[in-house]
Amino acid sequence: MRKAASVVLLVALLAGALSAAPAFAAVEAPALITSAGQSPGALMVRVLADQAGVANTYDTLATADALAGAKSLIVVIGASQKGLGAAGIDVNQEYTRVESLLAQAKAQGIPVIAMHVEGAPRRGATSDDLSRLVMRYAQYVIVRADGNEDGFFTQLAQQYGATLRLIDKTADAAAALRDLYGN
């Protein structure tokens, strides 16, 4: 039983390494890290980006002018009523802000990395709406696997031609960022 499990694990690891490694071209820092939905995921990604040695500016309410000087845009998706309430904004305002930020990134040719790192508990109608928006612009996607059990991000990544990397743990996003930024 244990042996079989190890073999499966090994195969999975190999497959993961083979598929993930060449797919991720290096993206350049500094990154602008922002939130789409104001959940704590953005702050977690900032901590992990620091750990990964990815130079960044962090602004959960960043607007288009915050892109000046940025060479990549990381949008961390996750809707939190508490977070939106604390920021004093509603979902529509958040959607509009994120959309104009993404449009500006596209206009400037800045690559977009979509991240969803808080798993299944951070799925839901509002989060999914924001995900559909961000995925329209994203070239790279990093998602905690339990938030993709229905294949939601897999399907969107295929639709928009983005490179998807699934991680098992939120903390694994540090390694994913390290790979992506070639650190």
């Binding site: 704590p40 992990l48 939190s80 508490k82 508990p121 951070r122």
Partner: protein, 353 residues
Amino acid sequence: MAKRNTIALIALGVMVLCMAVGASAMPALHDVRPGYGVTAIGWLSDYHPPLKGTPGDTRVYYLDSGKPGATVYVQGGTHGNEPAGIIAATILVERAIPTAGRLIVVPYGNNANIDYNDQYRLDVPPYFTIEVEGGVPRTFRYGSRRTNPAYEAQPDPEVYVTLDGGVHDGAEIRNLNRVHPGKPDGTLTEQIAYAINRLLIEEKVDVAIDLHEAGVGDRLENVLVAHQRAFMAGVYAVLNLSAQGLHFTLEPSRPEFRGLSHREWGDHTPALAFLTETGNPGQTSEYENPDIVNDPKNPLHERVGRQLALIRAVLDATAQLGLPPMTYEGVPTYADLVRDGLGPWLNAPTAQP
């Protein structure tokens, strides 16, 4: 006629008084077997003497390393039907050996709900047992969310309004986690909250953690709520837990929702305040005859393991962010509890520490 009414009223008044004070002279005592880490045992009433001799009094365990460090408060049993926090707190009392700072543990935060059956779940017995070494069963009570109404002098109001203007259903006046920071002359439940608030202030508590459970699949399952001042520590803690393979969802304390521990402890005391929840089959409406100890998907030992891992991760996080350390040895890790179950980690009648 008027006279008879007066006499009836006086009799009723005496009855209510007896219910409030007399009928319940002593607090419930529990099977807690302190280990060598415990340096003192007190009562919650030490911080609010009117609680003495009421069902709202409860044991306070002090584990002082004698070395400098942070003072940490861990509370189980805010809600008597959420056993993982009660057992996690009990394990700290029985097994933790502090090596820096000081740990204060209250396993039964609201001791006045532990003997109450609110009929919310008729299919969960009011006791559960855990077999410890030698096959000896240890028995723990399974109570209710709210204080036993027999212990309150007044019936529930129509609506309960907290000190800060929060509006709740009237019965919530008996929910300890809606009445923080309490009132010195309030209901029994409000006085319990007040005494806890005094404890946090008088003991100069740096970090306070309130242990809860929610239904399996509930949006609160495996959530860590952090007060604004504690939020960065919450981020570090959740990432640390994630690296161990334990998913927790972080949420900030809601400013508009008053009376909750993470909110009011953080606002009214210097402590960094946290609240956590694990998934209890006994609070899951879809389950029939749930087994709160041996449920195959969410066994008690796994939930206790999550809670103990979370406490450790919060203390690592606060130390990482510059607070003095509070460390201890002897407490099982999540992996220890998944491997061994609870039995070997609770003191047996004849156990040598």
